[in-house]
Symmetry: C2
Subunit: 197 residues, 2 copies
């Protein structure tokens, strides 16, 4: 499914896409972060290791032509009011949001909406696992970072971005391969299941 966040025109999108592609690692050449996660989720489902899916992009349908079998003639992409991904892994509810940045030294927090933060707080309150996958395009690195870390960072800091080094030190780098493109469940294991209590 095509997903052009509100206000971004095609040219902008294509430029962005070309830039990402040119900087991608050999392993994931040509794959956006979203494509990498979707492919990994398919792989994990085939292996029966987890059942995690992307929520479809919400679309506001304005006009439908019923004379042609419910052809949508006018509609608009809407922003996801929650996170992009959820599902079940090792009996636990999993919920996360994935974001890329082309900045080198920090991750801008305006990439995350207040709706998403509220949603992830709710997931934590109800006993689920909540995190972000943050990709630094220049470094070609993706990290898993616990949602509670991000929530606490926002509460305790005035800065509008999380430094790259904070993410390196508090997150877990996600290894890449051909299939799955991102071995993010290994990072989930390390962060939530291998903890020494």
């Amino acid at each position: 499914m095509i997903n052009y966040p509100g206000g971004i025109n095609k040219k902008h999108y294509q430029e962005k896409k070309r830039r990402i592609v040119s900087k991608n690692s050999a392993a994931n050449r040509g794959m956006s972060l979203e494509d990498s996660i979707n492919q990994s989720n398919e792989f994990y489902a085939e292996m029966d290791r987890a059942l995690i899916l992307k929520r479809p992009t919400p679309i506001n349908v304005v006009k439908v032509d019923y004379s042609r079998g419910a052809l949508i003639k006018e509609a608009y992409f809407e922003k996801q009011s929650t996170t992009d991904y959820n599902g079940i892994y090792k009996g636990k509810y999993i919920d996360f949001e994935a974001k890329s940045t082309h900045l080198k030294t920090s991750f801008p927090l305006n990439n995350i909406t207040s709706h998403q933060i509220e949603h992830l707080k709710g997931v934590i309150r109800h006993g689920g696992i909540a995190f972000f996958i943050i990709e630094f395009e220049i470094q070609q690195q993706a990290f898993l970072i616990d949602a509670q870390y991000v929530i606490t960072f926002i509460n305790e800091n005035k800065r509008k971005s999380i430094p790259y080094l904070d993410i390196v030190n508090n997150g877990i780098e996600i290894k890449k391969s051909y299939r799955p493109a991102l071995l993010y469940l290994d990072a989930v294991d390390k962060m939530y299941f291998d903890k020494i209590i």
Copy 2:
């Protein structure tokens, strides 16, 4: 969000809606099963009792006009390849599908796709809670029925529908109110959390 399943034209849909409305109980007058569940989920979220959401209807976008801020000019509704609802309740992953029938004596199994059955089997394998909410429009009754019951019924029977009385005897009737329209988490409690072991 408007959701016209493939092939149903507007007239058909409006007739169906009128019929449902005319038969609805006083408590839920004018609300479809989907509306009732969505309103109940909003209520449960406000009460912080659970975090359960409808997956957006997937839409296949064919043509987009970028000169007008990503206006979708041609698109089609797609069938959900999984279930309509999932989320977290009491620390457990919850996943379910809701279906109405206007038949009086049985629920036709062709309302459920093989994708949905495979998805719910996966949820059960991974330790989640999986069920159906089935509404009999004529009786104005909605039932929670465990997905494993439906899966076993399909495997062990040649019939193409589950008798109403089987659902009465093996499901839990969902009480109705003004808010939430369907007290379906009380039925979840009875079915999955109050069991005497």
